[in-house]
Amino acid sequence: MTDITLIQGVNQALKVAMAKDPDVVVLGEDVGVNGGVFRATDGLYKEFGEKRVLDTPLSENGIIGMAIGMALQGLKPVAEIQFMDFIYPAFDQIVSEAAKFRYRSGGEFPAHVVIRTPYGGGIKGGLYHSQSTEQLFTSTPGLKVVIPSTPADAKGLLLSAIFDEDPVIFLEPKRIYRTSTGEVPEGDVRVPFGKARTVKEGADVSVFAYGAMVPQSLQAANVVEKMGIHAEVIDLRTLVPLDVDAIVASVEKTGRAVIVHEAPKFSGFGAELSATISERCLYSLKAPVLRVTGYDTPFPYALENLYLPSVDRIARGIERTASTS
């Protein structure tokens, strides 16, 4: 096995799934001939043809509506939204149609679409190429929300998403598309939903992160290690379904929790995690749960580096939480 990048993991998952199952089709803007603006769908058009790799008009509600319509007949469409920041025209289709189809029809019409979209900052993308709005989807019953942080997870989780029978929002941390590298198993090897990954074990503080904040948190854990603080870093991998057991087990061990995400703090997914910890682990806690997040402002351009949780800011958060008694 050789090392590949996270985006190559995405690409491999699509290739494996399409080769295995003729019901898997891909659609989106520039995904065909061009192979996607980030090259996630590179080579698919050539290998599988225009019937299975649809270049669509520039219409996000159109892409998702088409995908849902195809799914109603049992196809397994994988739709790409070029940037998460452009997903909102499709919000009605995602929230009113995809998320509710199985429920509203009494199970008659499941709508198992996968919606892949690059999300997050760190690429100087400004307001409209940087946002993390996962909480809009995690708070909608009926949607699964998945965020890989390694090439192996990108491939394994995407394969699970494609063969899952529920709609999946698959958020790809574009900042680490090419910097996250690693070995990836050959073929159709799936990573199950609802199983967090312990990135680094530690006994002093639990750090919960996902996506591009996982490598940041790991670096921060290495920084505080030099101060004698042993942080445990957990990659949540799937926000829905959430691995509550892993969260509880870690906090019961450490008694301290730091939550890291790029999205704004207020009403962010960290609030859900913090509430979960306080509901289930209050008597284990030795310090208040701390959130290290983006600020409650729109996403900035020039000041991006100050907005995003940096290694130093996360390290400071861990340190503070570790030293509170």
Binding site: S59, G62, I68, G69, D92, Q93, S105
Partner: protein, 347 residues
């Protein structure tokens, strides 16, 4: 418009029966809501010819992607009245398990997709269904049903555009019933017709008298044949009139004149078909009476049965969110059952 006689007798008589049945069910639906026996209703009164004409022109394998005002289409597809009334009552026999307001039904066995409330979302879904049919090599069409108001929605644009670009077998069936709640058609768009919008998407648009059963039937048959011959989609604008309120929550006297309603009453689609059938000698006055009596009986027995069924089991609340219940939802379900047992929650 060609002569009504082009449509076979059997179809015309069946159409009449279904239109009468539809109106009877519809009137009872409104009354049940007024009596507080069901929570809501969306009448289609006045649109029977458009709905049944289109419904009967389709084949069983064609996909119907309805809005919430299509009982005439549902009956044409053969969905039993009892099934529909179970949904109106949201009872334990309801296929949808009581999850939706009345009239938002759908059934996979009938290729009749479950409706939602947002206006226009179904239009692009139909393009996706058609894409899948083409991919699977099935010779069928997809038919989204919508009103004049939906032609202003972004999903109308998306659906028309995608179907045009991919040359899909979609029949966009627009019932222009004159009103989107309180907004008249002429304030919905500056276009002189809705059908003409098709031109900009590169395919056919046809306007038809939506109160003329056989005219609708023929237009749909023709559009269907063209779509299956690879000649792409058609936008059909059936011009009709919503005789009743938008829904049982609406009072149309606030925004439209009684004279307008009266002028459309004179163009009643059932009356029109009745006269045609009598003139052809294809039905007798006694036959008509029989159709009406039968419709009343059928509707009554559907209501009786639906009313007897108990409400859905409380724990079905937690089913079908996902294929399998995730751990957290399982926990909520257990807590819920505990509250039921303790009597804190009472069904």
């Amino acid at each position: 418009m060609s002569e009504a006689t082009d449509v076979p007798k059997e179809i015309m008589v069946r159409g009449f029966r279904l239109m009468v049945l539809g109106r009877t069910a519809d009137e009872r639906g409104v009354n049940l809501q007024r009596q507080g026996r069901i929570g809501f209703y969306v009448p289609m009164n006045g649109q029977e010819a458009a709905q049944v004409g289109c419904g009967l022109a389709l084949e069983e394998k064609d996909w119907i992607v309805p809005a919430y005002r299509e009982i005439g289409v549902a009956l044409s597809r053969g969905i039993p009245l009892k099934t529909l009334f179970d949904q109106f009552y949201g009872n334990s026999s309801d296929v949808l398990k009581g999850r939706q307001m009345p009239c938002h039904y759908g059934y996979r066995d009938y290729r009749y997709v479950t409706a939602s409330s947002p206006v226009g979302t179904q239009i692009i879904l139909a393009a996706g269904l058609a894409q899948a049919s083409v991919y699977r090599g099935e010779k069928v069409v997809s038919v989204p049903f919508f009103g004049d108001g939906a032609t202003s929605s972004s999903d109308f644009h998306a659906g028309m555009n995608f179907a045009g670009v991919y040359n899909l077998p979609v029949l966009f069936f627009c019932q222009n019933n004159g009103w989107a709640i309180s907004l008249p058609r002429e304030k919905q768009t500056r276009s002189s017709s809705l059908a003409e919008k098709a031109e900009a998407y590169g395919f056919r648009g046809v306007q038809v008298d939506g109160n003329d059963f056989s005219a609708v039937y023929k237009v749909v048959r023709d559009a269907r044949a063209q779509a299956l011959a690879g000649k792409g989609p058609t936008l059909i604008e059936a011009v009709t009139f919503r005789m009743g309120p938008h829904s049982t929550s609406d009072d149309p006297t606030r925004y439209r004149k009684q004279e307008t309603v009266a002028s459309w009453k004179a163009k009643d689609p059932i009356e029109h078909l009745r006269e045609q059938l009598l003139a052809k000698g294809w039905i007798t006055e006694e036959g008509i009476e029989q159709v009406q009596e039968e419709a009343k009986r059928e509707v009554q027995s559907a209501i009786d049965a639906a009313e007897k069924a108990p409400p859905p089991e409380p724990t079905t609340l937690f089913d079908d969110v996902f294929r399998d219940r995730p751990k957290l939802l399982e926990e909520q379900r257990s807590e819920f059952m505990e509250l039921l047992k303790e009597g804190v929650l009472r069904p």
